[in-house]
Structure formats: C-alpha cells, structure tokens
C-alpha cells in the first residue's frame, strides 16, 4: 500500500480541522439569533447521505482487494452490512455483520 506523503497528510489534517471548526462555529458564533434560510437547511440535511454513498458505491462495485475486478464475495459482504445497518438502525451491528460475512467468505474461498 502506498503511504501518504507527509505534507499532504498534514495539509489535510489542518485544512479539515480549520474547515470543520469553521462549519461548527458558523452559526453559533457569527449569526447570533438569525435563522438559517430554509432552502439552505434543506440541502444541508442531505449532504452526508449523498456524499458517503457516492464514495462507497464504486468501492463496492470495483473492490480494491481484487484490484478492481467485480467480486460477488465483496458485494455480498457489502449488501449484508448495509442491510443489517438499515434494519437494526445500529452502525455497529451493521459493521459486525459485514466483518463476519467477509471472514466467512474468505474462509470458504
């Protein structure tokens, strides 16, 4: 695995630290009691639930461990993780299920 160059890593850490703080401080610090426009709130609600699936979908369809070749095993583990997380509404049960599936499928292969 290629390691991340140190300057890149620290730029990301510092950039994210300042940026995240800025987002958190934005309203509570600057805006006082001014309400945030409704259209903006409406879009903010859906950023995480859009970005994370968009990040993960290609990683599932073209998994890194196979060098990008589609793999039923990885797809099955991904589907089980998502289903368990969705049905139980619990991140850890989802992650545990996925890990277990991955382990079983590795052992079976």
């Amino acid at each position: 695995m290629s390691s991340i160059p140190t300057p890149i890593l620290w730029t990301v850490i510092i950039g994210l630290a300042l940026g995240s703080y800025g987002l958190r401080f934005a309203f509570i610090g600057f805006m006082g009691g001014k309400p945030i426009p409704e259209w903006l709130m409406r879009h903010l609600r859906y950023t995480a639930v859009a970005i994370i699936p968009a990040l993960v979908a290609p990683l599932v369809v073209w998994p890194a461990p196979t060098g990008g070749a589609p793999s039923l095993m990885h797809f099955a583990a991904a589907a089980a993780t998502f289903a368990a997380g969705y049905l139980t509404r619990n991140v850890l049960i989802g992650l545990g299920t996925g890990g277990l599936c991955l382990l079983l499928l590795y052992l079976a292969a």
Binding site: M1, S2, S3, I4, L9, T11, V12, I13, G15, L16, A17, G19, S20, Y21, L23, R24, F25, A26, F27, I28, G29, G32, G33, I36, W39, R42, H43, L44, Y46, T47, A48, V49, A50, I51, I52, A54, L55, V56, A57, P58, L59, V61, P63, A64, P65, H74, A78, F82, A84, G85, Y86, T88, N90, L92, G94, L95, G98, G99, L102, Y106
Partner: protein, 242 residues
C-alpha cells in the same frame, strides 16, 4: 425530573451520553487501525482525531488520500460530509446563542452528532432550563465521548501498526461507510438522496481527479432536497383534500 443546578446539568449530560460510548469507541479504534494501515504513525492519527473530531469526514479523507485524490477534492469531499455540523450549529443557536463568546467558541469544537442529538432533545423537553444549565448539559454530553474517541484512535493506531497487510483490511473501510448509511436513511427523501448519489457515482467515477464524487454528491443532495419539497406538497394536498 427537572435539573436543579448547573453541576447536575453537566452530570446529566454526561450520563445521557454513556450509551454512545459503545458507538464512539469502536469507531475511533477502527479509524486508528485503518489510519495505521494507510501508513499514519500514532501521533498523526491522534492529531487527526483530536483536531478534526468528526468520524465520517475522517474516514472520507483517509479513503481519498489512499486513492491519491487531489488535495482540493479531499478537502471539499470531507468538508461536505461535515456540512451537517453547520446545520447542528444553526439549530443549537436558539438555545446556546446567548452564552458568552468564549463559551460558544469552545462549544463549537464539541458540536458532533451525539452532543447535538442529545442536547436538542433535552432543550426541547425542558424549555425552562436556564442558559447556564443548557451550556453545562451540552458540555456534559462530551465529557465521555471526546476522550473516548481520541484515546480509541490512538489505541487503534498502536494495534494497527502490528496488523500484517496480508489480512486484507482494505475492504473494511467501505464496510464501515456502508454500516453508517443504513441508520442515516430516516425518511424517503434521505433514501432518494442516497439512491441518486449511488446511481450517479458509478458512471461519474470515470471523471478524472475523483471529481465524480463531487458530481454524484451534489446530484444526491439536490435529489434529497427536491424529494423533501415534493413530499411536503403531497402532504399539503392530501390535507387540503380533507
């Protein structure tokens, strides 16, 4: 039961947050392990969790750094995941906005999913709560979670350096994201955002510089907002028909 003192408000927040320990610690640990696998040393992983203090955004940045994505894409994507913090900040303002600036400046750092969710519920249930107690409650909700998150990361990074690469942990990060998505899908609009983002991300991944992620993310975000508007109109129509 009404809270009587500022001190007891802090400890109520502290106690209320305890169940979230079982979420924050394993996730912090996992971040540490994966960061170590990506080549980060323990102080780097520790600094990452301490200064950024936002799980999903940290995982996003870690994944994109490993893909050698351009710096600007890494920053935009991870901050986009964190945009919800601005929303939390906005909805806490009516409750904490009158606190002194130094308190608000410190509180801003501690705005995370758990502290926001617990505090908003508490403040809505007890509208009579004085400002000082609200501030104390908010800080109390972070009394356990923050140290646990940072320490778990450091511990994970220590362990991670000992895990051989042959264990194939490089699929664990996608699984961690997938586990996070399920509980996020609270309304049909969230499902629409997720579905559109996934559908767009596959063809968009052909775009250079990981731009596909931004394109698919925006598509999903707009889809979610439009779905919400549409659902509201349908509801208004149904009520109007009655």
């Amino acid at each position: 039961m009404a809270i009587t003192t500022t001190k007891s408000a802090f400890w109520k927040g502290f106690r209320d947050s305890a169940p979230f320990l079982f979420m924050a610690s394993p996730f912090g640990f996992l971040f540490g392990v994966l960061a170590a696998e990506a080549g980060l040393i323990v102080p780097e992983a520790f600094a990452f969790s301490l200064t950024v203090f936002a799980g999903a955004a940290q995982f996003t940045a870690l994944q994109l750094m490993q893909e050698n994505a351009p710096l600007i894409i890494i920053l935009i994507s991870a901050l986009a995941v964190n945009l919800r913090m601005a929303m939390y900040s906005a909805s806490l303002t009516p409750y904490l906005g009158d606190a002194p600036m130094w308190q608000r400046a410190i509180a801003a750092y501690f705005i995370v999913d758990q502290s926001y969710a617990l505090s908003v519920v508490q403040f809505e249930q007890e509208p009579e709560m004085p400002l000082a107690q609200r501030v104390a409650y908010f800080f109390g909700t972070n009394g356990l979670i923050t140290p646990a998150w940072v320490m778990a990361t450091a511990l994970g990074a220590l362990v991670g350096t000992r895990i051989p690469e042959s264990w194939g942990v490089d699929f664990v990060l996608p699984l961690a994201f997938l586990a996070m998505i399920g509980p996020m899908l609270r309304t049909p609009a969230h499902v629409a955002a997720c579905f559109v983002a996934v559908a767009a991300s596959l063809p968009a991944s052909a775009l250079p510089y990981n731009l596909g992620l931004i394109v698919a993310g925006i598509a999903g975000m707009v889809a979610g907002a439009q779905a919400e508007l549409w659902l509201e109109r349908q509801k208004a129509k149904a009520e109007g028909a009655k």
